[in-house]
Symmetry: C2
Subunit: 261 residues, 2 copies
């Protein structure tokens, strides 16, 4: 035990992904690091947790002196299992990523990277997810690592309001062309699905999910705007999903109950 | 084709669950019903979508004259696939459930039932998820069905604000003891994990996720309060996760960029 902050690092691309190694390298001198990450890619897992089968947790030596464990579950499982069975206490900081590919806008809902950060925030841990807008296995994480480090330093120094976490996305730029960070709101966008319909050798149909990202939101205060204009986006995120403004409206509905008292 | 509203019904307990049948029975005269639901239980799947394997979609005869399809994917997959490959247009209404077990408070984040409704809302469909606070296969869905029907009628008559869906939870009560519905906010609560650690026959550890639901929120305007006091809860929900109130605060941080322009 040291008096340095305890920093839990996880991701959704799996413990062997270059992005999580870049994150560990970027922040390893900021505290005592422990890595607990999925043993295989868990992209698009949303906030899934594993209740119908047991989880495995195996220590690895992938990070030298830094304790690291691979888990058979989802990113949210990793956070839960890390707190309960590895750390035996809440870490001071939870960092998730660096994801290979954007988690801006509506992608946050599908993102395993962000579900891990959100699980941390639910547990009361200061948490953020980091994503680089570059899917390549050979992506350059230099800029993303520096931003993650600076954001982590600010998180340690300032904390975050209760129930708030951060969704940080970094554009695919060099340090020379990068313009800086912007605190943003989540852009209103969606995926327009087109399933690729194929036939198997038995003549039965199957479907691959494909789609096109469509941004309906022209605001220059959004994460999509920031990323398209050379900035990294920092969106403060909450897990209270209540649409508070709609409560009054729904209260005007006439919902009938037979035998109402 | 009729001029009746087109109503898509899905769930996360799977197409054979009693709860989805109760929902179909409760609303079947309100429009043209199509059922597209998972072929196996998908509880706790959160907003997962299936990108690493193809999906299967098979027509069933479980609902007689009502077209029904079972899908190998998650609840969110079911909605996407239904819109693109079954309905070939957006339905007028998407109803998800009736879930066997509560999806109140923080459970919304883990819930496949609610992820299906949220996917609908993202697609611009008027959507709601319904859950009965009773896990039993023999649960009585009479009250829940009546509430779902009344809520669906109001949704068809009034629509919902853009980007808003409904999370409806029904207590395990009879119509005689039920007090009515309340429009609520999501209670601030969490699951306190305790993993059940066991050893397999080879002496290796494995872990079952268990936990205790803890409600930190004593407000009488929450879904947890409503359910504990004899009411059904109706929470309007949004998929803009931005913590707008925190933007100003994070803007005061000093995030350094080397080579900043």
């Amino acid at each position: 035990m040291t008096d340095k902050p305890l920093i839990l690092i996880t991701n959704d691309d799996g413990i062997t992904a270059p992005g999580i190694r870049a994150l560990v390298e970027a922040v390893k001198d900021l505290g005592d690091i422990v890595v607990v990450a999925p043993d295989s890619p868990q992209s698009a897992m949303g906030h899934a947790v594993t209740i119908s089968k047991p989880l495995r947790l195996v220590r690895t030596n992938l990070y030298g002196d830094i304790p690291s464990y691979q888990c058979s579950g989802t990113p949210a499982d990793c956070v839960k299992l890390a707190v309960d069975k590895v750390l035996h206490r809440k870490p001071d900081l939870l960092l998730s990523g660096i994801n290979h590919g954007s988690n801006s806008s509506i992608n946050i809902l599908y993102s395993g990277t962000m579900s891990a950060a959100m699980e941390g925030a639910i547990e009361g841990i200061t948490a953020a997810g980091f994503s680089l807008c570059d899917f390549s296995i050979d992506a350059d994480f230099t800029l993303a690592g520096k931003i993650a480090r600076s954001v982590a330093q600010n998180m340690l120094a300032n904390g975050l309001p209760k129930g708030v976490l951060l969704n940080v996305n970094i554009p695919k730029l060099t340090e020379e062309t990068f313009k800086g960070t912007k605190v943003c709101r989540q852009a209103l966008a969606k995926w327009e699905e087109e399933f690729d319909e194929r036939q198997d050798p038995n003549g039965k149909n199957y479907y691959w999910l494909t789609g096109k990202f469509v941004n309906f939101d022209k605001g220059n205060d959004t994460d999509e705007w920031a990323l398209a204009n050379g900035y990294a986006s920092i969106v403060p995120v909450q897990f209270d999903l209540t649409a508070h403004n709609a409560i009054g409206l729904i209260n005007q509905w006439n919902i009938e109950h037979e035998n109402k008292h």
